[in-house]
Symmetry: C2
C-alpha cells in the first residue's frame, strides 16, 4: 500500500496550545463551489468620512465628540458588552444550572485618523503607536482589581462582523479568564512544568529549524502558519523571547512586533489582491497579580477566506457539531503566502 | 445597590453538557447595526430543477446518475472529506507535533425529491422517513469496525455554507470521536457516575417543571432553548426517555422526533418570515461497541440570525479569541419563539 502523506490523505492534527484537534482533508480542494459568494469589499474610501463615528472630530453615539486626534485614539465602547458597575450575583441549581455576574469593560482603539487606511497600508512607525497603546492599556486595565483578563483584538472586514471600515480594534477586560485563553493556560502550564521552558519557545525553535511554515522573521518576532492551523490561512505572530505579556517588551521588540504585523498583513492583502478580512487577537498572561512564566505572548489571525476574495470557508454543520476541519494543509498555505510579493499590491 | 437580574446585567452561564461558558450581555441589544446585511434568500424555487445535482434523475459530479427516488435518497458524497481507503500513518515529534491518519466516509441524504421544500414545509410522515433513514444509516455505518463516531447534520441556507437549496443533510462517519461530542461524553459520564441518571434526563425534567425555556413538547420529545444557549436562537431537541442512540427509538418515538423537528422549524421560519438558516446535528453515543448508558440522544440547532432575516450574529474577534457571547437571554429567545403562530407563514 502507498505511504501516508499529509498532502494526500485525511488526518487529524493536535493543537498543542489548546489540546483540541483539527481534521485536515487535503484532497477536498478539488470540490467545485456552487455556494455563497461574498460581495467583494468596496475598496475606495475617503481619507475622512463625515458620517464615520470613528473619524477625528465626529460625533459618536450618545452625543460624545471624538477629539481631533493625530495618531491613535482610545475610548470606552458606547455599546459595551461588559460594564464595571453591576450588582454581584450568582445563580446555582443542582449541577445543571450555574450563572455568575461578570464585571468588565470594553474599549475601542482607532489605529489611525485616516479613514482609508488599514494596518498593511500604514507605516511601521504608526503601527508601533498602536502597539504602544496596547501595552499601556493592558497595564492600565489589568491593574484594576476586578479585571483578570484583557483581550485585545481586531475584526477586519464586514464579513468578520466589523461594522465600520475605519481602522480600529477593541479591548475587553473582565473578571473571569475566558474559555480560549483558559485552555491555553492549562497546556502552557503543563508544558512549562515538564520542560522548564515555555511551549512556544520550543515550538518557535522547531519551526525556525524546519522553515516550512515560517512567513516572516525579524530580530524579535516570527509570523508562521501553526502546524495545527484551523482556518485556511490562519497564522500566528510569536515573540522569540519568552515574554508573558506586552508590558515586558522592550522598545525594539515593540517595533519588531509592528514590523511583523505589517509584513504579515501585506501578504494577506496580496493573496487575493483584496483588503483581507480576519479576526486577530493577542493572547497573554492573565492579570491576576500572579507571575505567569508559562505564558508566552502571541497573536492569532483567523481569516475566513478560502479560495478567492469572495469564497470563504464555512465553519458550519460538521465543524460546529463535531470538529474543526480544513482543506489545504498548513504547509501548502504557508508556501502560498510566502511566495507572494512583499510589496502591497496597491503600491505597485 | 440594585439586585442582579439576568435580563439587565452581564453574566456567564455554564454549559453543563460541554463544560464551557457563555458570556451573556442582555443590555447590548440596544446597539445600532451599521454592519453587514445579508441578501435575503431567494424564496421561490421550482419543484424540480434540471440543474440541481440532488434532484431525482439528474446527473451528479463524476457522472453518477440519481435514481428517480420518491421519498428519501442516500449516496456517498462525491467530494468526501473522509474516505475509507487511506494508508495508516502517524507523525509525532516531541510534545508539540502530533498527527494521525483518519479513515471514514461522507454521505449525503436527500430529504425529499421536491426541490422546493424544506423540513418545516414537509409533511410529518415524510420527515419520519428522514428519521428512519438516519436510524438505518447510524446502524449501518456504525457497525463498520473503523467507524467509532457517526455525525448526522444539516446545513440549511447559503449563509450556513450550504451550496444547494435542495433539502438535504449529511452523515460523516470516522475513526476518532471528534472534539465536540468528546466534551459531551466526559460531562455526561461524570454526571451519570454521580447521579445514576443521564444529565439530560434530569435537565429535561427541570426544564419541563419551570416551562420557561420550553418550545415544543409531545409524548416523547421536547424542544427547548438551553439555559446555556450560545447562538441567539439556539435550540435543542431532547428525547424524554434516556436513549443513547437513534436505534433505540421505538417507531412512535421516531414519529415524535419528526413532529418536534417540524414544529420547531416552523417556529424558526415564522420568526422573521423567512426560510430560517441553521446548522443542526444529532449527538449520540459513539459506535465503539461499548454500552453508553450515560449518553442521551439530542439534536442541536445553531441558527446564525440575530435581529432580522438579514442581520446575523457574528462569532468573531472576542468570541474566537476569548469566549462565546450572546446578547438576548435564553429566556427572551424562548419567549419570542413560543409566542409565534404555529402555522407556517407561507401556509397562511
Ligand atoms: O459539504 P458542503 O455542503 O459542500 O459544505 C459545507 O458543509 C461542510 C460540512 O459542514 C463544511 O465543511 C463546508 O465548509 C460547508 O461549505
Ligand atoms: O463590537 P462590534 O464591532 O460592533 O461587533 C463585532 O465584534 C464583537 C466582538 O467580537 C462581536 O460580539 C459582534 O458580534 C461583532 O459584530
Amino acid at each position: 500500500m502507498e505511504q501516508f502523506e499529509f498532502t494526500e490523505h485525511s488526518h487529524r492534527r493536535y493543537n498543542a496550545l489548546t489540546g483540541d484537534w483539527v481534521l485536515v482533508s487535503p484532497h477536498r480542494t478539488k470540490r467545485p463551489w456552487q455556494g455563497k459568494v461574498e460581495k467583494p469589499a468596496i475598496e475606495e474610501r475617503p481619507k475622512y468620512d463625515e458620517k464615520c463615528y470613528l473619524c477625528p472630530g465626529n460625533e459618536r453615539a450618545g452625543g460624545h465628540d471624538n477629539p481631533d486626534y493625530k495618531d491613535v485614539f482610545v475610548f470606552q465602547n458606547d455599546f459595551s458588552a461588559l460594564v464595571p458597575d453591576i450588582p454581584e450575583g450568582n445563580y446555582t441549581k443542582g449541577d445543571l444550572f450555574r450563572a455568575e455576574s461578570e464585571r468588565g469593560f470594553c474599549k475601542v482603539i482607532c489605529f489611525s485618523p485616516r479613514h482609508d487606511l488599514t494596518i498593511p497600508e500604514m507605516e511601521v512607525e504608526n503601527i508601533k503607536k498602536v502597539v504602544d497603546l496596547w501595552c499601556e492599556q493592558y497595564k492600565e486595565i489589568g491593574s484594576l482589581d476586578y479585571i483578570k483578563h484583557v483581550q485585545i483584538f481586531e475584526n477586519k472586514g464586514d464579513i468578520m462582523g466589523c461594522s465600520n471600515p475605519h481602522p480600529h480594534g477593541q479591548i475587553w477586560g473582565q473578571y473571569s479568564v475566558p474559555v480560549e485563553p483558559a485552555k491555553e493556560s492549562i497546556k502552557q502550564k503543563e508544558y512549562f512544568d515538564k520542560h522548564g521552558k515555555t511551549l512556544l519557545e520550543d515550538y518557535v525553535a522547531d519551526e525556525l529549524e524546519s522553515g516550512e511554515r515560517i512567513l516572516v522573521e525579524n530580530d524579535h518576532f516570527v509570523a508562521l502558519v501553526p502546524f495545527w492551523a484551523t482556518w485556511p490561512f490562519e497564522t500566528m505572530i510569536v515573540s522569540k523571547r519568552a515574554v508573558s505579556n506586552l508590558t515586558q517588551l522592550t522598545d525594539d521588540e515593540r517595533a519588531a512586533l509592528a514590523d511583523a504585523y505589517k509584513k504579515l498583513t501585506v501578504m494577506y492583502d496580496n493573496l487575493f489582491e483584496v483588503s483581507f478580512p480576519y479576526s486577530a487577537g493577542i493572547h497573554q498572561a492573565p492579570t491576576d497579580g500572579e507571575e505567569h512564566p508559562e505564558w508566552h505572548l502571541h497573536m492569532h489571525f483567523y481569516p475566513p477566506l478560502l479560495r478567492s476574495a469572495t469564497v470563504k470557508k464555512f465553519m458550519v454543520g460538521y465543524e460546529m457539531m463535531a470538529n474543526a476541519q480544513r482543506d489545504i494543509t498548513a504547509e501548502q498555505a504557508a508556501q502560498r503566502l510566502r511566495d507572494l510579493p512583499k510589496v502591497h499590491y496597491k503600491a505597485k
